[in-house]
Symmetry: C2
Subunit: 183 residues, 2 copies
Amino acid sequence: MAVDREQVLKEAAALLTRRATTSMDEIARAAGISRATLHRHFAGRDALIRALEERGIEQLAQAMDAARLEDGDAATALRRLVTEAEPVAGMLAFLFTENQLFEGEAVNAGWARLDGRINALFRRGQEEGDFRIDLSAAWLTEALYGLIGAGSWAVHEGRVARNDLNHSIVELLLGGIRRSMEK
Amino acid sequence: MAVDREQVLKEAAALLTRRATTSMDEIARAAGISRATLHRHFAGRDALIRALEERGIEQLAQAMDAARLEDGDAATALRRLVTEAEPVAGMLAFLFTENQLFEGEAVNAGWARLDGRINALFRRGQEEGDFRIDLSAAWLTEALYGLIGAGSWAVHEGRVARNDLNHSIVELLLGGIRRSMEK
DNA sequence: TATCGATGAGACATCTGTGTCTCATCCGGC
DNA sequence: GCCGGATGAGACACAGATGTCTCATCGATA
């Protein structure tokens, strides 16, 4: 009865997102397998985190593909990106706070690629005259991550309705707090 | 030669912001004292974190006082808040990701008070017709924390210049990404 | 049914961090 | 100079998690 590796990673992500210090034993139980079996599939805790990171990178990359970042105007592409990335928001929030620990070669390269794609999207919006240019694309990228993380956390805490998450993030990013007469 | 408790907390905050699992020994060394002395001043790791949290709450409260949140229009008050809170940004980023673990009585009450003040600021802006009302004040509060955290991290990583931090946060919050003809 | 691979349960050693304690030392005030 | 409080260095036991191993069991398949 082969263990569903993907299912294990999913459970692990759910637990670690809530508490970064969740033990291997707790993860194993949550996944419905024994600690021994967990170790048979992932050499150790580091390997598990690494696998999670690779999974997160892959999922975000797929979300980007699905969002077709290069199509249409940048703002609409950004909306699509947030929509596609929402299911991975919790995972991103976890990795965003955790990735300071592990500085793997391939992993960093993976993040750099993703950052680059988002950066490019913001730059495109700036070049097309739609996005303001007094805020660097690098900062906008970080801010996007930050808002996704904050939003995911807020939903988890019950301070924001899950249904509003997408709208909350995108609208704040695009339009800001201020009520504008027209735009 | 009395240990400078404030200095120890400052060092601890700096280290823990970078890596949440920094050991007591590392903190002690960074503060230039021995682990034994560190334990003489803080009963244990929990007590140290608790002290950090109280310190963060106090500092943020002072920043709010200095920002005079009730004076003038809400947007300007928000600008003042970000300016005053900037020196504590790193600390806030740490506590923001860490407070999910410790659920102290008094501590939570302290955060609730601060959240309430920020919430009130956003609500005031909404009632005065300056802030949009399709984004809840609760979400705006979370978003502010998120952006401060992301900004602090971006500065730490060298992706945003420290001098730009204030401007980056406030402008994104108030105006959003979009280039607007007029506002 | 017999077999083989995968799993669960548990024992075990190890490691890291923590909290406590003791003892020597240092430094300032008397 | 002497004394007392504070500190540093280090030993110690303890707790929790980790990684490895063994052995029994279960289930699918030949």
